[in-house]
Amino acid sequence: MDIKKVEKVVKKKKADFPEQLIEDIAEAAERHKLKAAELDELVGNLKKAYERAEVESGEAVGTVAAQSVGEPGTQMTMRTFHYAGVAELNVTLGLPRLIEIVDARKKISTPTMAIYFDEDYAADEEFVRTMANRIGKITLNDILMDFNVNYGSMGLSIEIDEEQVTEKRLDYDEIIKKIEKAFKKVEINKNLLSFEPTISEAKHAIRELRLLADKVRDLQISGIKNIGKVVIRKEGQEWVIHTEGSNLGAVLKMEGVDKTRTTTNDIHEVEKVLGIEAARNAIIHEAQTTMEEQGLTVDVRHIMLVADMMTADGIVKSIGRHGISGEKASVLARASFEETGKHLLRASIRGEVDHLTGIIENIIIGQPIPLGTGSVGVIMKQRE
């Protein structure tokens, strides 16, 4: 049946249905070949059921959300099996990951990206491999054939493996340029390079040479900042790059990368590159997949509420002392959470006023709480 027609009936019945429900009604009406009168009745009954299922005003949705996320959280095995390998990459899972998300950590323990490619390149293995080498970190050590530290002549000589260079799809001239830029005292003879340390004092000579050796080996010749190892996997028909470390901004700038699907698990990076609404979506997605991976299901609406609270002020804030709970207006509410002394002392110094509008404050002083039926006042009619 036509969606427009259903919308009309819904409007006539003064029901406020979400788009999804209207589509479902249209589909059901089509399937059962409902007549106009039957559709009318269906919408009428649905309206009743829908309104009954709605959350009532004054319901403590935050407490319900906290318990609904918290209970399955206790089921997660503490600390064990929290690391699982996707191919060779380590990704934090389970409780530690969930804590990381709600704490809105700036530095997460295992940032990772999933890089997708545009249609034209997604099936092109050669292209994806070239990209992988441009994204992933490659040090000089990875393309060495020979490495010699000569303590007699106080020199260092290396031999670059040209086969490795072509296999990794690198540009030889660019490597040489990078080496020349990083080290001044270097002699280049085709693929044989020799370095000399800058020695300030004779007694430190050996140490200087060893430091130089490390520096030469660790010289990064390819890759994007903050990204380490990369793994290429075939998912369905297309090639996807998974990375250790994350730099969404830089990767999205690269040619051929799918700018709509490439993501990272670092929520602060999503916020920086794609904005607060994207961060909200990322929080929901990360929290939900973390729970699902452990075989736990939490209604998304609880997670959506958490994500809404975390992003309500335009920046990603953590749940807890440094975020939402620490910024409550009421002194008593803050003091009852953590750092009681600090909050009471500061409030008395500043002369803060508690308007007793919240739940906790009223429990503390023994008043009825503004929740559920307590959230409405009663005005009595004056007797004449």
């Binding site: 429900l21 700018k259 999503v270 920086k272 590159v273 794609l274 904005g275 607060i276 609406r301 335009g314």
Partner: protein
């Protein structure tokens, strides 16, 4: 990356700047003051991409798992 590219990312929902008369209507329907709306920063990448200014109200049409489409609003902070 061109600024507008981020608007196509699947994590980014539709953002539309509301006109003055639309703002009045929306606030009246929800019975709220503009300061009670969720906020979005002026230096948010999406705000920059659509060219919203301080004090604007942005209509955000989210793809919701429960409702299909859900309309939300954010006030642009200075």
């Amino acid at each position: 990356m061109v600024k507008k590219d981020i608007l196509k990312h699947k994590l980014v929902p539709d953002h539309v700047v509301l006109k003055k008369n639309q703002i009045v209507k929306v606030l009246k329907a929800m019975e709220v003051h503009p300061e009670q709306l969720p906020k979005i920063k002026l230096d948010d990448p999406v705000v920059k991409a659509i060219g919203a200014k301080e004090g604007d109200v942005i209509k955000i049409t989210r793809n919701s798992q429960t409702a299909g489409k859900f309309v939300s609003y954010r006030l642009v902070l200075g």
